[in-house]
């Protein structure tokens, strides 16, 4: 009888301690005992694949090929330059609409803000942790820079800034340029920009 109680007690301890492990952190990978077609021999992005010499299932495009929908031709929309020249286009070649500006604001917040800051003054949060302050968009030199050059800076990078072409597709780059122009306007405004009837409400 005493043995029975002992065994039951041990079993209870075992069950409780194991059931209590439910949801606990584990460093070891899950074990898939029954295959159940959980893992099928198909390509998955960013996964290991022994079929290829470099062991990656995500393939680089074959040299000399262009993906569908890729920005490939020399049109201003893709290069920021007048076709066949190295002259930057003065104004962005896409129609500026409220939705373009909204898109630009969103993309700016994702990709530019960490370094250039929400105001575009180059003092983003990363500059507080040892980044050299990034370019200030309100610098007169930059305000005068043509739209096409802005586009190319995002595409190719400049000075300390790396190229963002792989990260921000071309239409989004134009949206960001459009938003930057609005951001610059916000610091260049004068009293004359305020509509006449509202001007009396304006205070310094």
């Amino acid at each position: 009888m005493r043995h029975m109680i002992l065994i039951l007690g041990l079993a209870a301890v075992l069950v409780l301690s194991l059931a209590g492990l439910r949801g606990c952190a584990s460093r070891r990978p899950p074990i898939e005992i029954f295959p159940d077609m959980d893992r099928q021999p198909k390509l998955r992005p960013q996964a290991r694949n022994p079929l290829f010499p470099d062991g990656r299932s995500s393939r680089q495009p074959v040299e000399g090929t262009i993906a569908r929908q890729a920005a490939w031709d020399g049109s201003p929309e893709n290069t920021g330059r007048h076709p066949g020249t190295t002259n930057d286009v003065e104004v962005l070649p896409v129609p500026v609409t409220p939705s373009l500006l909204a898109r630009g604001q969103e993309r700016f917040g994702i990709h530019c803000q960490p370094c250039h800051g929400p105001l575009g003054d180059g003092r983003g949060i990363a500059s507080r942790y040892g980044m050299i302050p990034a370019a200030n968009f309100h610098d007169p030199r930059l305000v005068r820079m043509p739209d096409g050059e802005w586009f190319r800076v995002i595409t190719e990078g400049r000075n300390q800034m790396a190229a963002y072409a792989s990260q921000v597709p071309a239409p989004d780059r134009w949206a960001i340029v459009a938003y930057l122009r609005a951001l610059e306007r916000s610091r260049l405004g004068t009293v004359e920009d305020i509509p006449e009837p509202l001007r009396s409400e304006w205070r310094k």
């Binding site: 043995h3 029975m4 065994i7 039951l8 041990l10 079993a11 075992l14 069950v15 194991l18 059931a19 492990l21 439910r22 949801g23 606990c24 952190a25 584990s26 460093r27 070891r28 990978p29 899950p30 074990i31 005992i33 159940d36 077609m37 959980d38 893992r39 099928q40 198909k42 998955r44 992005p45 960013q46 996964a47 470099d54 990656r56 917040g109 994702i110 990709h111 803000q113 960490p114 370094c115 949060i125 990363a126 942790y129 040892g130 980044m131 050299i132 300390q160 800034m161 790396a162 792989s166 990260q167």
Partner: protein, 216 residues
């Protein structure tokens, strides 16, 4: 007097003990497998090659998920960032830090950083990130408070019942589109239902409940 119990019963207590021990072991093994991260994956927290912290980058620096997980709003696969994306900042910040050595190596050689994938549904399940993100389902519901994790762990079960719970009643989870990446966003539950119902109605949302929706 002949024994009330035949002789073989002398073995009985031993047999019962052995049987109980075997049953106990089976139960323990079952629990140890089916109730722990070995099977459910919940709690799986592998040691990554770089001690990357979402708490530092998202909570402290205020970065958006899409800076790194760019695929999340346009494809089924969220994608992990390549080394060049980390180097946008880390060519200056912590430029010589030993913790970032694998990232610098990857930048030089082109071989990927060997991140270990944590969340992974079986291959017979069709899941699509963008279909959820663009309708106002936040990362929070499926991945937990990633923005506060020092290390990512598998937070939600991602089992069939988990998926269906929301597909049957999406209004309890839906958010305005601009709050999807803000994991700390909160409304009181009563308003959530009201607002969610409105979003589900105006968006004409019909999350699949039939088998072929997720097993195609």
């Amino acid at each position: 007097m002949p024994g009330v119990f035949p002789k073989w019963t002398n073995q009985l207590p031993l047999n019962i003990a052995a049987g109980l021990a075997i049953a106990g072991a089976a139960v323990a093994a079952g629990l140890g497998y089916y109730f722990t991260p070995k099977y459910t994956r919940v709690g799986y927290q592998p040691i990554q090659p770089v001690p990357y912290s979402h708490a530092t980058h998202v909570e402290q620096l205020g970065m958006d998920c899409r800076y790194c997980h760019a695929g999340v709003e346009r494809s089924w696969f969220a994608g992990l960032p390549d080394a060049s994306r980390c180097m946008n900042c880390h060519h200056q910040v912590l430029a010589g830090d030993p913790r970032l050595a694998p990232v610098r190596d990857s930048m030089q050689t082109g071989a990927p950083v060997a991140w270990i994938q944590i969340h992974r549904t079986p291959d017979y399940v069709y899941f699509h990130h963008a279909a959820h993100i663009r309708r106002g389902v936040s990362c929070l519901h499926c991945h937990g408070r990633v923005d506060q994790f020092e290390e990512v762990r598998h937070d939600q079960p991602l089992s069939m019942s988990f998926c269906l719970e929301c597909h049957r009643r999406p209004e309890a989870y839906l958010r305005p589109l601009d709050q999807v990446y803000n994991l700390g966003w909160n409304t009181d539950p009563a308003r959530q239902n009201e607002q969610g119902r409105l979003l589900a109605l105006t968006g004409d949302m019909r999350p699949p409940l039939s088998c072929s929706g997720c097993h195609r």
